[in-house]
Subunit: 331 residues, 2 copies
């Protein structure tokens, strides 16, 4: 555990005040170090009272994710067994890529209570309110060619959908990997890889799920496109429990993928896809491809059927707009 | 220029001895710094005489690549216009990936006189003898999906073949991107990328060309599989001139690719391919695919025709063995 977390754990355990000396003695830190950690915890949203002669008392702490809370609930054997819980970081993907370059093993997960520079697809920003949502990055080292790696983003979308279904919700997937609740985006996925021409070195799957954020947490321009489980259902989600469930689903799907290829995932993705059979426009790097969405092919490419007697077009990358129906999410 | 290069340039210009004080004065360095740079140059293969009271004199220097020698010959407008010439580095690809992550622009090239940890495909070693060959890495930021990035390795093989043809040689290409002279490998290419699921951030194309190495530079197990231009033709190659020519070809091909897609490159690759119409075995991650090589498809995947009435199989990654004919290179 980091110093901040050690001090927070000690304050949580104590019934009342703990002096700096007591804290320092039990944790093997100087009083100056204790003071520094208390300041950092306050910065991270903890309300800590300090009184001369008495010491420190924890009044309120944001619900920080604790690795133990997650791992004690895991049913996976590899995914998330090594779990790094950060109170704040720039981007969990960046953090995990650094660790991956050091050679860390598949299944390592990084979560953060807050991201100060959360990123979405195509360099877009990902709103990462502190302490209420899930910001997860998972390290994979699949034995696939770079061309196949985007399939893992579709797999991740299915894992998140399964996690949301366990909460009694009916999520839908929008290609390639947005997860929606009633047409509003509840989850975004950003996969990044480092690879040679013919083999992947590693893939980092970043998953942001809006669990307990409120409408006011989003900038005005996103309020009709984004949602959270709390906004959608009124119920608060236990983040540690959701994360453990998600990692367990993720690992099972990954085992199916490793054994049976993308064919094992495709049906599970398509049955949750909001777009199939509907009129869509895909903006593929400026080129607009219009037609009926026929699903995805065995590689994970989107199939868009234009003219009647022509074969469906395969689209590898792009932004989809559904032209009919209620769906309002674009990103 | 780095300190080593500044000191080397000063010693080259001088007719006879230069004292440490003279050198230090003209370069604005301490005598201790001069001493350090001289030691580094000796390490890099320079023979430098030092005499008390007289100073330093350059007796012999390996032919180090000088950026000016290259850029003065370039006909490209972007590729290699920014060129970093290192006397020694672990791997030019690693060096350039670091620079790419800092946001450096397309076309930046890194070359080294020596690589201490040169890498080939699939984690294999690349023998990188000092001072005689070309070890180049080039930074590309193509607007393509990760699935398309391996095409750039095929493009690079064509660029190298064109450079060798300008020397009057008849190179052949072995899929995906080995360049051969009479069946022995003269060039290896290692492309590495960092990407999101649907767009490439950057591709680093590493090119190692054996220009002036001798048989004794290769370990015994490679001597019948590897060659150099010098070993093949008896003629020594001017490295700076070859590099400038290669970068110029590379840029022209890249312009064709950017404008016309891989279709613009495919024919140039196939006409130099040693395998077409021959019986091959491909080891694709342990799975052996045998048949007649039909060429590559519009994506750059290898087409292997097995049974008569079945369509050719597409292979994305693997090691090829040609079953008939003289070709002896496997890697």
């Amino acid at each position: 555990m980091k110093g901040d977390d050690l001090v927070l754990a000690a304050l949580r355990e104590a019934e009342g005040f703990l002096s700096g000396q007591q804290l320092g003695g039990s944790l093997g830190m100087s009083r100056a170090a204790i003071w520094k950690h208390v300041a950092a915890l306050r910065n991270a949203g903890c309300r800590i009272e300090s009184r001369p002669g008495l010491g420190y008392r924890l009044l309120q702490s944001p619900e920080l994710l604790q690795a133990d809370d997650v791992t004690s609930r895991l049913t996976s054997s590899v995914f998330g067994r090594e779990l790094l819980c950060l109170s704040s970081t720039g981007s969990t993907n960046d953090e995990l890529r650094r660790l991956a370059r050091e050679g860390r093993a598949e299944g390592l997960a990084v979560v953060a209570d807050e991201q100060t520079a959360g990123r979405g697809r195509l360099g877009r920003q990902w709103v990462s309110t502190a302490g209420v949502n899930l910001y997860l990055s998972l390290l994979l080292r699949p034995g696939v060619a770079p061309a196949e790696a985007p399939q893992l983003a579709l797999l991740a979308a299915v894992a998140v959908a399964l996690g949301l279904e366990d909460l009694g919700l009916e999520p839908e997937i929008k290609w390639p990997n947005d997860v929606l609740l009633k047409g509003a985006k509840v989850c975004g996925i950003l996969t990044e890889m480092e690879a040679e021409a013919d083999r992947v070195d590693f893939v980092v799957v970043g998953v942001g799920v809006n669990l307990n954020s409120r409408a006011s947490d989003f900038p005005p321009e996103l309020r009709d496109k984004a949602t959270s489980v709390l906004m959608h259902s009124g119920a608060k989600v236990d983040r540690a429990a959701f994360l453990a469930d998600l990692l367990s689903h993720f690992e099972l799907l990954y085992e199916q993928y490793t054994a049976g290829g993308f064919a094992a995932i495709r049906g599970q993705w398509e049955m949750r896809c909001v777009m199939i059979g509907r009129k869509i426009n895909v903006n593929a790097g400026g080129r607009i491809i219009g037609g009926i969405c026929e699903g995805i092919d065995t590689d994970g490419a989107l199939l868009v059927k234009g003219r009647k007697h022509e074969p469906a077009q395969r689209v590898l990358a792009g932004d989809v707009t559904v032209l009919d129906g209620y769906m309002k999410a674009r990103d």
